[in-house]
């Protein structure tokens, strides 16, 4: 019995020390954005798209570049979605930023993607950020790595740097997040199919089944 109480005390003291340590060692301030979020642009940017404007089904994806489940979707499911649904003209896919406040570098990554988009390579940067997702696990500032991604996809490095330094798309990213919040996005990735929230599993097969059923409906 005495041994039990000793063990209980050890667990209790160990747990208390752990909690105190966790409370005292808060992370560093977020490096980006370091300035106030600019006002949303008046252009009403609605996100980068893949697929035809005339596709019968429109899917909006609210995603966070640092989110591992978004990365899993982008790397495992999205290639099938592109082949089976976007390339066939059934779907237009729209990417919307939804950076979670709890992720340290989500907005930096979203800015990098937008700066890629400025030079016509949003989706290339999107793929770099998701297919090389190790940066999200290290906790280190990935700004230099993102610059490498930019070079890899063929961006003009000077223009990319100027874009990142100016944070000119920070307002656009915040606007997208606010839009998602207003729609009720409560996790990432979240999807809206023709404006309605998609609650099924985030797999290419499920999307294909849903979109096939939507496109198969007889026109009146």
């Amino acid at each position: 019995m005495k041994g039990f109480y000793v063990l209980l005390a050890v667990v209790g003291i160990g747990g208390a020390v752990w909690l105190v340590y966790a409370a005292r060692h808060k992370p560093e301030e977020r490096p980006v954005p370091t300035t106030a979020v600019p006002a949303a642009p008046a252009s009403g940017f609605r996100g980068y798209t893949l697929g035809s404007d005339s596709a019968p089904v429109h899917v909006a994806e609210y995603s966070d570049f640092e989110c591992p489940f978004c990365a899993a979707f982008a790397t495992v499911q999205m290639p099938q979605v592109r082949t089976q649904l976007i390339a066939t003209g059934k779907v237009q896919w729209r990417f919307r930023d939804f950076p979670l406040s709890s992720h340290q570098y989500s907005r930096t990554a979203a800015l990098a993607a937008q700066c890629g988009g400025e030079q016509g390579k949003f989706w290339e940067m999107h793929d770099q950020l998701f297919f090389n997702h190790q940066w999200a696990q290290t906790g280190k500032n990935p700004t230099g790595l993102f610059r490498q991604f930019a070079k890899t996809v063929g961006l003009d490095a000077e223009r990319y740097d100027a874009c990142m330094d100016s944070q000119r798309y920070a307002g656009r990213i915040e606007e997208s997040r606010q839009e998602g919040e207003a729609l009720g996005v409560d996790h990432t990735p979240s999807f809206y199919v023709n404006g309605r929230k998609y609650t099924g599993p985030p797999t290419s097969d499920s999307f294909k089944a849903l979109i096939d059923s939507l496109t198969a409906q007889p026109k009146r």
Binding site: G12, A22, K26, P27, P68, S102, Q137, D186, H187
Partner: protein, 139 residues
């Protein structure tokens, strides 16, 4: 007796896990240490609150009660009465069912896994199994 002691130790461990998540919810702890990265997603979701209170707070209260009851049970003599064992099982079973619901939400709705939630799920499952085995042995 060993099983009651194990329940007390598990409840204490569960209490610290719940406290960690609750303190984070209160803003007293910065970023959750989470290998999967899913903790923030889970904690930021609307399912992190239940009936207007943080889910972690339910854990803090539940594990505290389990700890107290199990310590009372440990104090019982070698011919223990059934009552504390039944109390442990009655307390643990709803916690286990609630954990099942939360785990299903993580997997099927949020599509994110928080390792601290998994730790709590393992703990409450073990406590439930041990308390049920205690009741069964006395019947």
């Amino acid at each position: 007796m060993r099983r009651r002691q194990a329940i007390a130790l598990l409840a204490l461990g569960g209490l610290f896990v719940s406290l960690y998540l609750w303190l984070h919810k209160l803003g007293l702890i910065g970023v959750l240490q989470c290998g999967t990265g899913g903790c923030d997603t889970v904690q930021a979701s609307r399912y992190a609150d239940f009936l207007g209170l943080p889910v972690a707070l339910y854990g803090v209260v539940g594990y505290t009660v389990l700890l107290v009851v199990s310590l009372v049970a440990v104090q019982q003599p070698d011919q223990p009465r059934l009552r504390p064992d039944v109390a442990l099982a009655v307390l643990a079973a709803p916690g286990f069912l609630f954990t099942l619901y939360l785990t299903a939400v993580e997997l099927l709705v949020i599509h994110a896994i928080c390792r601290w939630c998994v730790a709590s799920a393992v703990i409450i499952t073990a406590i439930t199994a041990l308390s049920l085995s205690l009741v069964r042995r006395r019947l």
